[in-house]
């Protein structure tokens, strides 16, 4: 059975070259081709290929972030990164990715990387995917639903709220459940988000005002979000000082 491959690159000649190289090597079926990160995630989610050849530098969601979203899929593909020149990126995924290939890619390197991907079992792939933890901040939050993996731009997120088991993400188009813990989200988005309570992280961009009810409890109102959010006593003074609201 031949391996099914998805090619992701924003440059037409690069995609074309990989396609013709795969045809020469044989034994591979190109299941799909994507020109940017969003397309790639959608395509991989629908086609469940075995291998993704993923360009690192792409407009919008870059290759590293695509890999992180793919890692959350129930059946993650083997990811082989391709890149022309990205020193920092290479350092980040050197140990975790199945392989990375430098452009212009050599046929024998491509063959070796594909052979390695072929040998890995699904479980091993999941382990590799879990270890792919690039410290950079994502630009989108991935939400898994019946309709597949959806992406919510981080700038459209009002807040994250923790329940017992899940985290709720409230955004411009509604709310969804995600598996990321509030702690990891806080670490990842520390530049734009603020912990206002043990169970809430808010996007500072939407902060409108802070209010207090009769019992002395503070609440934060976010622009565009009808319900107010509880603020812990410890954070109330800090919030007032920082934003003068």
């Amino acid at each position: 059975m031949s391996l099914r491959v998805v090619i992701v690159d924003d440059e037409p000649p690069a995609r074309e070259r990989l396609r013709s190289m795969l045809a020469e090597i044989g034994d591979f079926e190109v299941a799909g081709v994507a020109g940017n990160g969003e397309e790639a995630i959608d395509l991989v989610d629908r086609l469940t290929p075995d291998v993704v050849l993923l360009d690192v530098r792409m407009p919008g969601i870059d290759g590293l972030e695509v890999a992180r979203h793919l890692a959350t899929l129930p059946a993650p593909p083997a990811v082989i990164f391709t890149t022309a020149f990205d020193e920092y990126a290479l350092q980040a995924f050197e140990s975790e990715a199945v392989a990375y290939l430098l452009k212009p890619i050599r046929a024998e390197k491509l063959r070796a990387a594909l052979a390695k991907a072929e040998r890995l079992s699904r479980t091993q792939l999941q382990q590799v995917a879990a270890a792919t933890n690039v410290p950079a901040q994502r630009t989108h939050i991935g939400v898994r639903g019946r309709d597949g993996l959806r992406l919510i731009p981080i700038e459209e997120v009002f807040c994250f709220q923790a329940d017992q088991k899940y985290t709720t993400v409230k955004h411009l188009k509604g709310e969804d459940l995600i598996e990321d813990s509030l702690k990891t989200l806080e670490e990842e988005f520390t530049a734009n988000f603020l912990r206002i309570h043990r169970n809430a992280l808010v996007n500072t961009k939407y902060l409108e005002r802070i209010a207090r009810d009769a019992s002395g409890q503070h609440f934060v109102h976010l622009r565009g979000l009808p319900d107010a959010l509880e603020v812990s006593r410890r954070m109330a003074g800090d919030l007032k000082d920082r934003f003068r609201i």
């Binding site: 924003d10 440059e11 037409p12 000649p13 690069a14 070259r17 020109g35 919008g60 452009k103 212009p104």
Partner: protein
């Protein structure tokens, strides 16, 4: 066409500046007065002349010093251009002679004016002592000026060397991506691949050229267009460049790699991060002897911070335009709404006619 010949020094060779500071400016005059007054104060305090009294001593001494200093400054100001043409040793000897002569004359005048009241010394002794002091002080000061000037000259040279080193750098990202494009074209379209190799060679030649200090605008536009062709292969429909440069004089003189790096930045920061691509606009105007070139590119939301590479390239272009045209050249850049705009403005000077037309 009849245009005035360029008033610029030949490429790579600038007139060596004289090490003497410019004594013609009012700030120099002020500095001289302050130094004279401080020296007078020092002398009066040290002498503590009981016969004359502190204030009279201070007055006479400062008048004496000011006469010498301001007359000396005036003479050096008038002779500046003449001295600049002489060698360091000759100009130094001339300055020494002028100052010592001046001191002797002013000393003689001062002696004649109030010998009995101010100086208990014999006439000749007074003149010789003053001349000796003048000789030593002037020699030391000249030495100081010379060393400072050499040091500044050195700093300037180093800055220029840095600029040149920076200039020679082509983005590795561009090189490897181009190689990849060529590798792809070799299979699908060998003719295009051949063109691409030639274009890449031309770009590297322009980048490594020794005579890139001053080239014609037409040549520079050609380099920029070659660069565009290369990127076009890679980015396809995503890249559109709108050239509105018909009114620019082709023979205008520009530093090499003025426009190409701007186009490179516009594509790298403005077009590549956009999945749907965008338009870079290059507009040229020629009005009242001034050339204005404006490069605009869309600014992706996720890319609001101006990156280091961009600022370096802009600073580099600014430095080289200023080196060529001084204050008359300006480089402005900034974000306006969702666009990033760079504006170059410099005076028109025709390319000197050399061997190749």
């Amino acid at each position: 066409m009849n245009r005035p010949p360029p008033s610029l020094p030949p490429a790579g060779e600038e007139p060596r500046q004289i090490y003497l500071p410019n004594f013609c400016s009012s700030s120099a005059a002020l500095t001289i007065i302050v130094i004279c007054e401080l020296t007078a104060l020092l002398l009066a305090l040290a002498r503590n002349d009981a016969a004359l009294g502190f204030w009279s001593d201070l007055g006479f001494t400062s008048m004496f010093l000011l006469w010498i200093a301001l007359c000396g400054a005036g003479l050096l100001c008038m002779l500046r251009d003449y001295l600049a043409r002489k060698s360091v040793a000759i100009s130094a000897a001339m300055v020494l002679t002028i100052i010592v002569g001046l001191v002797v004359i002013v000393s003689a005048a001062a002696y004649a004016y109030g010998a009995s009241a101010t100086t208990p010394y014999f006439h000749w002794s007074f003149l010789v002592r003053n001349a000796g002091i003048a000789l030593v002080v002037t020699a030391l000061t000249l030495r100081y000026f010379y060393v400072t000037h050499e040091w500044r000259h050195n700093v300037e040279l180093q800055a220029k060397a840095r600029v040149h080193a920076l200039q020679a750098r082509i983005r590795p990202h561009f090189l490897f991506n181009s190689m990849n494009t060529i590798a792809a074209l070799t299979r699908s379209n060998p003719a295009r691949a051949e063109e691409a190799v030639q274009d890449l060679a031309d770009l590297f030649r322009a980048n490594l050229s020794e005579k890139r200090n001053q080239i014609s605008l037409a040549e520079e536009i050609d380099v920029a267009r070659t660069y565009q062709r290369m990127e076009q292969l890679r980015l396809g429909d995503r890249l559109r460049v709108d050239w509105k440069i018909e009114s620019l004089p082709n023979d205008a003189l520009v530093p090499g790699l003025t426009l190409q790096p701007l186009l490179e930045n516009a594509i790298y920061h403005g077009i590549e991060p956009l999945a749907q691509g965008g338009v870079v606009t290059v507009t040229g105007e020629f009005n009242k002897g001034m050339i204005t070139i404006v490069v605009r590119n869309p600014l992706p939301v996720a890319n609001l911070t101006v990156r280091e590479g961009n600022r370096l390239a802009l600073a580099n272009i600014k430095e080289r335009l200023e080196l060529m045209y001084g204050d008359r050249a300006t480089v402005k850049s900034g974000r306006y709404d969702d666009q990033y705009i760079v504006t170059l403005r410099f005076p028109f000077t025709a390319t000197p006619i050399t061997g190749t037309a």
